[in-house]
């Protein structure tokens, strides 16, 4: 490629481009349940709301039922493991509104051994997603209709997607 200009220095991402405080869901939550929000952030053009896990059910019901927000579609429910934190897991929920065409990310921190409310009563799509999160991380969802392992065998020990579980697992098949 002619005219190659070598890249020098570190890269700083451009500004978020969207102010998270102007997001309608954030405005509504700050007005209705100010104590539930722990932190609001944005990266690129996607807004994340971090809530306290005790308020998760109320927040989700509010997000689904408020006209103007109408987050009726659960895109994804998963978890991320930060073993160095006190509350090591982050349950991450991606929501989408079919009628308003906007997307939101809701996060809640859960510690190892603690339980978090299940949103399977609000969006039925969360049923298997929560089972998978339980299977991979060991997070217990209170109020889930049928919380058991889904991807691994029923008698599997350990939670593979935690950071302290080795990639190759423990032992081969025959051992």
């Amino acid at each position: 490629m002619a005219g190659y200009v070598p890249f020098k220095g570190s890269y700083t991402p451009p500004a978020a481009g969207v102010d998270p405080e102007q997001n309608p869901a954030v405005l509504k939550l700050r007005e209705a349940m100010p104590g539930a929000i722990e932190e609001v952030s944005a990266f690129r053009d996607q807004v994340s709301i971090r809530v306290f896990k005790e308020h998760l059910l109320e927040v989700c019901t509010l997000l689904r039922d408020t006209p103007g927000l109408e987050y009726d579609f659960l895109t994804d429910l998963t978890a991320v493991d930060y073993p160095s934190r006190a509350k090591r897991f982050d349950v991450v929920i991606h929501l989408y509104s079919m009628s308003q065409n906007h997307m939101l990310r809701v996060k809640a921190a859960v510690g190892d051994g603690e339980t978090i409310d299940s949103v399977a009563g609000i969006w039925k799509a969360a049923n298997w997603e929560e089972r998978e999160t339980f299977d991979m991380f060991g997070i217990v969802f209170a109020g889930h209709p049928d919380l058991r392992r889904i991807l691994l065998a029923e008698d599997w020990e350990g939670y593979p997607l935690r950071k302290d579980y080795p990639l190759l697992g423990y032992g081969t098949y025959t051992s």
């Binding site: 579980y165 990639l167 697992g169 423990y170 098949y173 025959t174």
Partner: protein, 171 residues
């Protein structure tokens, strides 16, 4: 056929019988496709009209272990699925062979993880390994042809001491 296996020393009787039985085994091998993942799509492609390598050689896809001779394991075998595969292998009747199609079945493939059996030879005895990810349908069929060559070398003659009870076909 079980009456004459392993009864006679190598002689003209056994070589003629060998020729007949091996010819029958070789040209009418019915594969059981234990299709798990991507390699199963290539296994299906072996049978379609572009390659059409099955019917010409006397093969017919069967999905039941009771009706098939060779088990083609196509795709990744996980630790959850391995007991099922072993059960299916045990349900097949002698003579039976096994071909591991693809990298995952041969050696775990690109998945060095907690949930994958690193090669199905930990579970069933394998005759032919076909590498590739996924192998070309022609490569899969080359593996089947190699198996046919192995079948040709089998014998029903007795080459060791006289057995106490009837044994299965010796290789």
């Amino acid at each position: 056929m079980g009456l004459i296996v392993n009864r006679f020393r190598p002689s003209v009787v056994t070589t003629t019988a060998d020729f007949l039985f091996n010819w029958a085994h070789r040209y009418s091998m019915w594969p059981l496709i234990l299709g798990t993942a991507c390699c199963a799509i290539e296994m299906m492609a072996v049978g379609i009209s572009r390659f059409d390598m099955l019917e010409r050689f006397g093969m017919l896809y069967r999905f039941s272990p009771r009706q098939s001779d060779v088990m083609l394991v196509c795709g990744t075998v996980t630790k959850k699925f391995a007991p099922v595969m072993r059960t299916i292998w045990d349900q097949m009747s002698e003579p039976k062979w096994c071909i591991a199609v693809g990298n995952c079945a041969s050696a775990g493939g690109p998945f060095p993880t907690y949930a994958v059996v690193q090669g199905i030879d930990e579970v069933v005895p394998v005759d032919i390994y076909v590498p590739g990810c996924p192998p070309n349908p022609e490569a899969i069929f080359y593996g089947i042809l190699k198996l046919q060559e192995i079948v040709q070398t089998q014998t029903i003659a007795r080459t060791g001491p006289k057995p106490e009870k009837k044994q299965a076909l010796k290789r």
